[in-house]
Amino acid sequence: MKGSEALAIRGLTVRNPRGQKILDGVDFTLRAGEITALVGETGSGKTTLLNSILGLLPRGLAVVGGSVALDDGKPIDLLRLSPDALRHYLGLQVGYVPQDVRSGLNPLMSAEATVFEAAQRRPEPARERMTSALLRAGLSERFVEQDAKRRPGKLSGGQCQRILIAQAIVNEPRVLLLDEPTASLDPPTRREVQATIRRLAGDHCAICLVTHDISALAGLADAIAVMYLGRIVESGTADAVLRQPLHPYTVGLLSCVPRLDRRERILPIPGEIPTNLDELSGCRFHPRCGSSQDQCRSDAPQLLEISSIRKVACHAVGPAAH
């Protein structure tokens, strides 16, 4: 049912070998038929969040708290499942499109073989579902008939991206995780892939779209969560977040987007993402924040509900300040 909770992430915390929290109490909900975008700079923890859900964390990183509840009639906490039990849900209930288009496809495998192998997870005839998935991913019938036997090296970036999407949706999962699906595509192809993603959401699929390009989300995402150094700093409907960003980091991200209708200078966010989390206390954004206060250096702000459609983690924008 559209709008129902498909995947609920609560208090997800991941530590690295040095004991630092790479993800710190992340709360996040994916709803059926909606595209929820996860935005942030490189290094903010977006891909780590997806890898935590999929059980693909690199060696050394470990989930130390929280839950990832998949609605399968009753909530199933994916983090509590054994690898074998988790495989029962991966691909069938949760689909995934990896970050890099070229590295995402096996260079020795043809396009149709890539999708076919994933389709074999279900007992139903795989070939028909493979063809259907390729078409639903936006590839033409001509491609399916003539070019699907080609290897990725002979295909364009847009075609490769669609094959990855077809591989992820071939078993019709209820949740789809897309890691930077349009990052390496040219603008027209990006638009086409975005239209495909929009169509998939129309099929009642809950989509999580990870991107660092906040400008690409207008007209695409239904909800946006902004992430900085492993914490969600702002979330809300896409319209609200894009039109009236509240957290200084979101404001900074949007101010980096070039616009043709304004002759303003692009203002980058000062400084860089800190690499040593041990030296950071309080709000993780305070060293780069123009409106930081004394409280920001000592107390980590909680993600608080500002309105029915907004949550912000900032001392300057909290309910009182609001």
């Binding site: 999929l54 991966l90 689909g95 990896p98 970050q99 590295s103 096996n106 495998m109 073989a113 990855l164």
Partner: protein
């Protein structure tokens, strides 16, 4: 499904074919030919006709047998042991390499690194000579031969294992392996489908470097009296034949031998080039 014929397999499959051919040819030619000591060490017939009018394309050996089928029989035995050793070496490289590439254990890394350094620092021939001569004369031949094969295998494993481990590690970081895990494939399925096809070329390269070494070492050391015990391989056949030859015939047979050895050593490399594997490797992650 990868429907293309895997190129590495083509190369690997050629070695058993050569081996089977040698077996198929040798016994039929060799067994019915009686030893005629009076005809020992005859030169090739096209160079100097034999007294009884028989035709020996490469002359005769020390027992008066035609040298060509004797060479085939010896080659067959040599290849048999070389293929067994290569199989053991490839298995060792794959097992160690895949485990090391998957779990990235520091202990295993140290072990393989030490092995690689050891292979560079210690001459393989010196170890083989020591092993072969250290056994008492009464020692069972199987044990002596096994120890010599084991040395050759041990020398081949660290370099090959490192090659495989690096490939497995690189593949583990690719998006398609992550995607495979993410669509719920089992680790075995992921290995078979996503990783193994990329290792075939590495295996072909390991075979191409290890197989000729087994042949060359056996033949080369035979001249020093270091050889597999109770084993009529290429090394023993050649050394016995050369020791009592006239200079003209000896030079000719030596040239043929060198051609055989060099051909055996270079065949896998030439095949790799012919199949364009070096170009193919450029596509791999």
């Amino acid at each position: 499904m990868n429907v293309r014929v895997p190129r590495g397999i083509e190369v690997i499959s050629l070695a058993p074919i050569v081996f089977l051919l040698a077996i198929a040819i040798a016994p039929g030619w060799l067994s019915p030919v009686p030893s005629r000591h009076s005809d020992s060490f005859l030169p090739p017939s096209w160079y100097e006709s034999s007294s009884d009018g028989a035709w020996y394309s490469l002359g005769t050996d020390y027992l008066g047998r035609p040298f060509a089928p004797v060479l085939c029989g010896a080659l067959s035995d040599t290849l048999r042991i070389a293929l067994l050793g290569t199989l053991l070496a490839v298995t060792g490289c794959l097992a160690l390499g895949v485990i090391h590439g998957s779990i990235a254990s520091r202990g295993l890394e140290a072990l393989i690194a030490a092995g690689s350094l050891g292979v560079m620092a210690i001459p393989e021939a010196a170890v083989l000579i020591t092993i072969a001569t250290a056994w008492p004369r009464t020692a069972p031949p199987l044990r002596v031969n096994a120890s010599m094969v084991a040395v050759l295998v041990l020398f081949a494993v660290p370099t090959g294992a490192r090659l495989i481990a690096e490939r497995v590690r690189a593949l583990g970081k690719t998006g398609f392996v992550a995607a495979s895990h993410a669509y719920g494939a089992t680790p075995f399925h992921t290995f078979r489908l996503e990783i193994w096809p990329h290792l075939r070329e590495d295996v072909a390269w390991i075979v191409a470097s290890v197989l000729p070494r087994f042949v060359a070492v056996e033949v080369g050391l035979a001249y020093l009296g270091v050889e597999y015990r109770e084993f009529e391989g290429l090394g023993r056949t050649l050394t016995k034949s050369f020791n009592n030859l006239g200079i003209g015939t000896a030079v000719f047979q030596m040239l043929v031998t060198i051609l055989v050895i060099v051909g055996l050593a270079l065949l896998p490399q030439l095949l790799l080039r012919a199949f364009g594997l070096s170009q193919f490797r450029g596509n791999l992650p």
